[in-house]
Amino acid sequence: MKSSMRTPLSRVRYRGAAHSGTGHFWRQRLTSVALIPLTAALIVILFSLLGRNQAAAAQMLGSPVVSVIIVLFVVTSAYHAWLGMQVIVEDYVHHELGKIALLMANTFFCAVVALASAYAVLQMSFGV
């Protein structure tokens, strides 16, 4: 940092808003609220699958209501995880390039995991 007598606050004042505001905080809370019933539903689904073979499990996971619940769970938790890991990286990684690389990797990881999981569920649902 350049040496200066100015306080950090005075340096950023009048530069305008970052235009993100409380968006990150809000989306974290929104997804966390959604995940409460979704997690309960997932646990019920997992219990009903105990002891079943692959064909029975695939048939059940492919049924309309269960498919929608699992896709909602996977997408919501991947989004929630994406927001959470972003904060962890920003808190602990101070090397600028490393931080950018990890934030990109975080986005790629969450997108791939969510899409791959949703694809598998839809595959069972549509029976392709």
């Binding site: 940092m1 040496s3 200066s4 007598m5 809370r29 966390s32 609220v33 995940l35 409460i36 997690t39 646990i43 219990f47 105990l50 002891g51 079943r52 073979n53 692959q54 064909a55 499990a57 695939a58 996971l61 699992i70 996977v74 938790s77 991947a78 995880a81 959470g84 890991m85 962890i88 969450c110 995991v113 791959a116 999981s117 598998a120 569920v121 595959q123 069972m124």
Partner: protein, 137 residues
């Protein structure tokens, strides 16, 4: 100690960090919330593997099942269960705090103990349920 303007920024007092505080339950649960969150992040891989394996057919499903039935698989799944429940209850606690309640000295301590005790109790109950109902069909 301050030699010139360059040293001013460094000489400004910073708020004390973790090491200066006596470990408290609220602090430990805050740390646990982040650690369980990070664990669940990578746990998404297990969830994806389960779904892809089930969609792929009996071969892939068998591989997943033999991993889950192994000692290591069981330990991971047990840890996953606790992390999931603990993070869920910790999240509920944070939502209570977000609406401005539960900040009193006794309330916050009670909430924190409830998070830990609740997560352990629910995890054990779920696994007792698994052993009771598992393999019935």
């Amino acid at each position: 100690m301050v030699k010139g303007p360059a040293d001013l920024a460094a000489a400004r007092p910073l708020s004390p960090h973790l090491t200066i505080y006596r470990p408290m339950l609220t602090m430990l649960m805050s740390i646990a919330h982040r650690i369980t969150g990070a664990a669940l992040y990578f746990g998404l891989l297990l969830l994806a593997w389960w779904l892809i394996a089930t969609a792929s057919g009996p071969g892939g499903y068998g591989k997943f099942q033999s991993f889950i039935d192994s000692i290591v698989g069981r330990l991971i799944l047990f840890g996953y269960t606790w992390a999931l429940i603990h993070h869920l209850l910790g999240g509920l606690r944070h939502l209570i705090w977000d609406i401005g309640r539960g900040f009193g000295p006794h309330e916050r301590e009670w909430l924190t103990v409830a998070t830990l005790a609740g997560s352990i109790a629910i995890t054990l109950l779920l696994w007792i349920g698994v052993f009771m109902f598992g393999g019935v069909r």
